[in-house]
Symmetry: C2
Subunit: 633 residues, 2 copies
């Protein structure tokens, strides 16, 4: 027997795997994304599944308590099936439905968006030309005739052609009576002629804008002739099986045998799954997809392209490449037209990637006079400060607190997460909203910001984030790990247990918010600027969508400028990919922005640590920095 079978319940999906592969690998093949913060090492204990039938040839139990392993609970990453097995994979072990940010350009309201569409010249496009048939008096070569027509009619210069396309050119030109559509793809400073076809009877062509997030992947299918979004789809990044964050992914890519290939495969299969879904529902053929633009952080781009990510993680944090070359889809295994070029938005540094560069383009800040701050907060808080004169970026390691990780009741922004909180009545009552109005099962990032702000305003915690002694509310109590505050009682929750925040959690959140603010201050300080100079603040990314700017200012995370200066830009990485796909001009602008941005390493020659320590208070050691909060306290 050279393969084993695994049946997953309650999904009722059966897959075959080679002998020796784990149930975690089988799950990935089945499209079931199990949690795996430790990258399959058996350490985090999150990929719990229950063996219902069959035997295992190996079953490390890792951290599982004996009473669980007695009931058949195993760690999927440690269990190797023998023959055919049936397992139950509970919701708690899965990365459940997530709000993948899909809003496309049509939802955008920014000038930049309109501009990109107003002057469309997609990275793949077709130009129709009617050539004058040759005569003895005008018998230049077929290719020369074509090139001349492209320049004469469309001002296109610097084209190139492959031998294969050239080999079919004379026949096509004559069969179509010299009336042809020329398929052009932008490559470096050239336009590559990918095909020449009779002008009549052309099929529609499409492009993909892809946001390769560490957690989720979003794909937008765009009609390259009309510029319209034909569909969107999103899913978890299957790399999740190899760790939650970029550091774990890099370690797995570098240290696991065949790691680089496996990580590349995982994200490729994620994208291919989405593309197949989008094409099937529209009855399109994969060969109609002629260009792909991807936005992702530097690690995601390295893993997607199969590049060496080793030195991203190690001081002095050097990526292989910031501005990756376009690569043919066939080489990457993307299930689109094999000749399609795949472009990745250029990044700036190991922790300031193409998603950020693209975001800057979407805001339009790089071309305007107003001093603007662009913020994308996730595990890393990435930010860019500047205007048309200069652009500076930094990444501060905020830690995973805002992503719901490392905190007892933290969770991602998925249904059931508490996303908004108000502590009232001096700490006696808590009002909250959950995503999709489900019963709460945890608190996501925006909820934590509200909570911190609200606990502070209600006097439950002090400026250093510590519980004020002697409060009479039953919500503050002693827990297993010290004092804690009960946000939701067991009776209200989806899992029947209290949802609490501990003193340790609060310190964790304080560090996260301090890192973000210290980053902002350091950027400003390096140019001798004060917070008041910031004329606009753009917040990007999924986390930013639910954030309450007022609360974020109250806790001293975001700069204290009038709220009307704040603007949410949505999934700016996906938007940027779409804009670049539809406009060679925008694509060039994004490259120019990447070249312009100066990266500031927060660990060298600047005051980041000092700023960080000062920011470990609510709102700050120097409360004059947050004048709007002083009225309230």
């Amino acid at each position: 027997m050279s393969e084993n079978k695994v049946l997953f319940l309650p999904d009722d999906v059966k897959v075959k795997i080679p002998v020796g592969q784990t149930i975690l690998q089988a799950a990935s093949k089945a499209g079931i994304v199990l949690r795996g913060a430790c990258g399959g090492g058996g350490a985090c204990g999150r990929c719990r599944v229950q063996l219902k039938k069959g035997r295992l040839s190996f079953a490390g139990t890792g951290k599982l308590p004996p009473e669980e392993s007695e009931k058949g609970w195993i760690l999927a990453c440690q269990a190797v099936p023998k023959g055919e097995v049936t397992v139950f994979a509970p919701e708690s072990s899965r990365l459940s439905e997530h709000r993948v940010l899909l809003e496309g350009r049509q939802a955008g309201v920014l000038a930049a968006t309109a501009e990109g569409v107003a002057e469309p010249a997609p990275l793949f496009r077709r130009q129709v030309v009617k050539l004058v048939a040759p005569t003895l008096a005008d018998n230049t070569d077929d290719y020369g005739r074509l090139v001349w027509a492209l320049e004469h009619e469309y001002g296109i210069r610097n084209v190139r052609i492959s031998r294969q396309v050239l080999a079919e050119l004379p026949g096509t030109l004559r069969e179509s009576d010299w009336h042809v559509a020329v398929e052009l793809a932008v490559v470096d400073d050239c336009l590559e002629i990918q095909g020449v076809r009779p002008a009549a009877g052309q099929v529609s062509v499409f492009g993909l804008a892809v946001d390769i997030g560490t957690t989720t992947v979003a794909v937008e299918l765009v009609d390259l002739d009309t510029g319209e979004v034909a569909g969107t789809a999103g899913a978890y990044n299957r790399q999740a099986a190899y760790g939650d964050d970029v550091i774990a992914r890099i370690i797995n890519a570098v240290e696991m045998p065949g790691g680089r290939v496996k990580l590349q495969e995982a994200v490729r299969e994620t994208i291919n799954g989405l593309v197949t879904e989008l094409l099937e529902t529209r009855s399109l053929d994969r060969t109609q997809v002629r260009a792909v633009v991807c936005a992702g952080n530097t690690t995601m781009v390295h893993l997607f392209l199969g590049l060496d990510p080793t030195y991203i993680r190690l001081e002095p944090y050097v990526p292989s490449v910031n501005m990756p070359p376009p690569v043919k889809a066939a080489e990457l295994g993307l299930e689109v037209n094999p000749e399609a070029w795949v472009y990745c938005l250029p990044g700036v540094a190991s922790y300031v990637g193409g998603d950020i560069t693209g975001g800057v383009r979407v805001t339009g800040m790089a071309g305007e006079k107003a001093l603007t701050l662009f913020l994308d907060i996730g595990t890393n808080g990435e930010m860019v400060l500047g205007n048309r004169e200069w652009l500076m970026a930094c990444a501060c390691s905020a830690g995973p607190a805002f992503e719901g990780s490392g905190i007892a009741c933290g969770m991602r922004a998925i249904p059931g997460a508490i996303e908004a909180i108000r502590v009232v009545d001096g700490g006696f009552e808590v009002l909250y909203n959950t995503i999709d109005n489900r019963k709460p099962t945890g608190i996501c990032g925006s909820g934590f910001i509200d909570l911190l702000s609200s606990l502070f305003e209600a006097g439950v915690i002090d400026r250093s984030g510590r519980f004020v002694p002697g409060l009479e509310t039953p919500r503050v109590r002693g827990g297993e790990e010290g004092r804690e505050f009960v946000v939701a009682w067991a009776g209200e929750t989806g899992h029947g247990a209290d949802i609490t925040v501990t003193q340790a959690d609060l310190q964790n959140l304080l560090r996260a918010k301090a890192a973000v603010f210290a980053g902002v201050r350091t950027l400003l300080a390096s140019l001798g600027l004060e917070i008041g100079a910031v004329e606009r603040v753009f917040i990007a990314g999924g986390f930013g969508r639910f954030i309450n700017a007022r609360d974020a200012i109250t806790i001293g995370m975001l700069p204290d400028v009038p709220l009307q200066r704040y603007k949410y830009v949505g999934n700016s990485a996906l938007k940027a990919a779409g804009l670049g796909l539809l406009s060679q001009k925008v694509w060039e602008e994004i490259k120019e922005i990447a070249r312009r941005i100066t990266n500031v390493e927060l660990s060298v020659g600047n005051k980041f640590m000092e700023e960080f320590v000062s920011a470990l208070f609510l709102p700050h050691t120097d409360i004059k920095l947050f004048p709007s909060t002083q009225k309230g306290t």
Copy 2:
């Protein structure tokens, strides 16, 4: 049985061929090049072989007389073996040893040659850089660091890199302690980074200059580090099995099933055979060959690249491409480094190819003030007239007379060919030289020019090329096809038969010389110039090597300018390929020359036909055009 076997005698070479293939195809596989002027159609009767053993499943006899077919003589192109057969292939059916023009650049004496070597920047080259290791204060991406160093140290801009090379970059940089050799290939306006290797312990790298002639192929192996020629080799173009001239080749490529592929295969195998020979004798590996530059006429380039040659042959004579893109060696099946780029010198028109453009560069005429005529005479007489201000080209169909074809005793310039002739004593005596001093077996092109001139000067023929009636010499006699002149008596010859020239042959030669001169006159006339304006005449190609300019003027083929204005430039196509290989600057200059040359079609709107008719006399209707010949007549 799915294949047959053919043993060739006297070579004693046995090959296997698929069922259905002919003995001609088997011969090609065995490296035996049989004559085949008709391209395998059974019409020319030149590929005679004698069946010694075995049976045939098909044996068309074509033009063979019954007494021959009774003795087992068959036409190789018509004979399909059944099982195993043995055949004898006589010398008379073979394209025998030919003087392939191999003289390399080291033999050159032209300024252009020295210039090319003085400033070497080969199309593939290596640049060694020592990078500064990254620090936190300077942690740009690895690729960016490399690009910066190339620009800073060598002024190199506009580089590009593939994903595959990028994937290995970080490891190589660190293992080599940031001291690396960067392998660069010129592609269009870019330099492609083909590899990055530790600076220490580099192997030598080589390039190939290839002259793809219709008849012969010559290859020069060049050390790209030193610019030295490491070896040369030449052979018949195996396409000879598909016809003698470009027209027959095109017809076969277009009309024979799979023709384009077969013709491409034939020339590829010719080149691969030569390359393997050159590499083996020097114990070099094919991966050390990193660039290939080919020069050939437009048809040869099309067939080598597998492009569609159909419209080269049909009015209005349009090639697929004049300036072909570089193609990877792997795609063409060349047995060198698969990543090596193969460049073809750019041509001007269907009958003015890259060999001519390259020749113009070798003469240096495109950059000089003197009005210069460049002539390459073969089946087509191709010529370029001009200077640094302008360049005009034309091709006149001289017919194959000068190549020894279509003339009873004509032969190519191979051992035994009469290459120089003097008719003395009023036609009673003939003095001649043969190539390699063998007994004569025929007359080659240069011999015919001498003969025409000499017969005219001796009064044997009149101005219209007709035998003067009433001559008493026994050398003029009535033959099967009218009157003829005996050049060599049976007793002197290598085959024991008289070598003669008939009245029809003389008319044939007259038309050939008239076509060349009419071409020159038409080019001059289109600019209102007289022959005396020509300050230099460069003669190129194998035929040109043996030509006697004085005799060529006497018969009115070449312009009557002082002999010191004539210069022989050898195999200028091969020289140009070598120069382009070693110098990106020269390569760009050749492209510029191709763009500058204006092609004149001799069949439209000019006086070519009128000039041609006027030139059908010795030396010309208007003898004032040949003042130097008037003294003698």
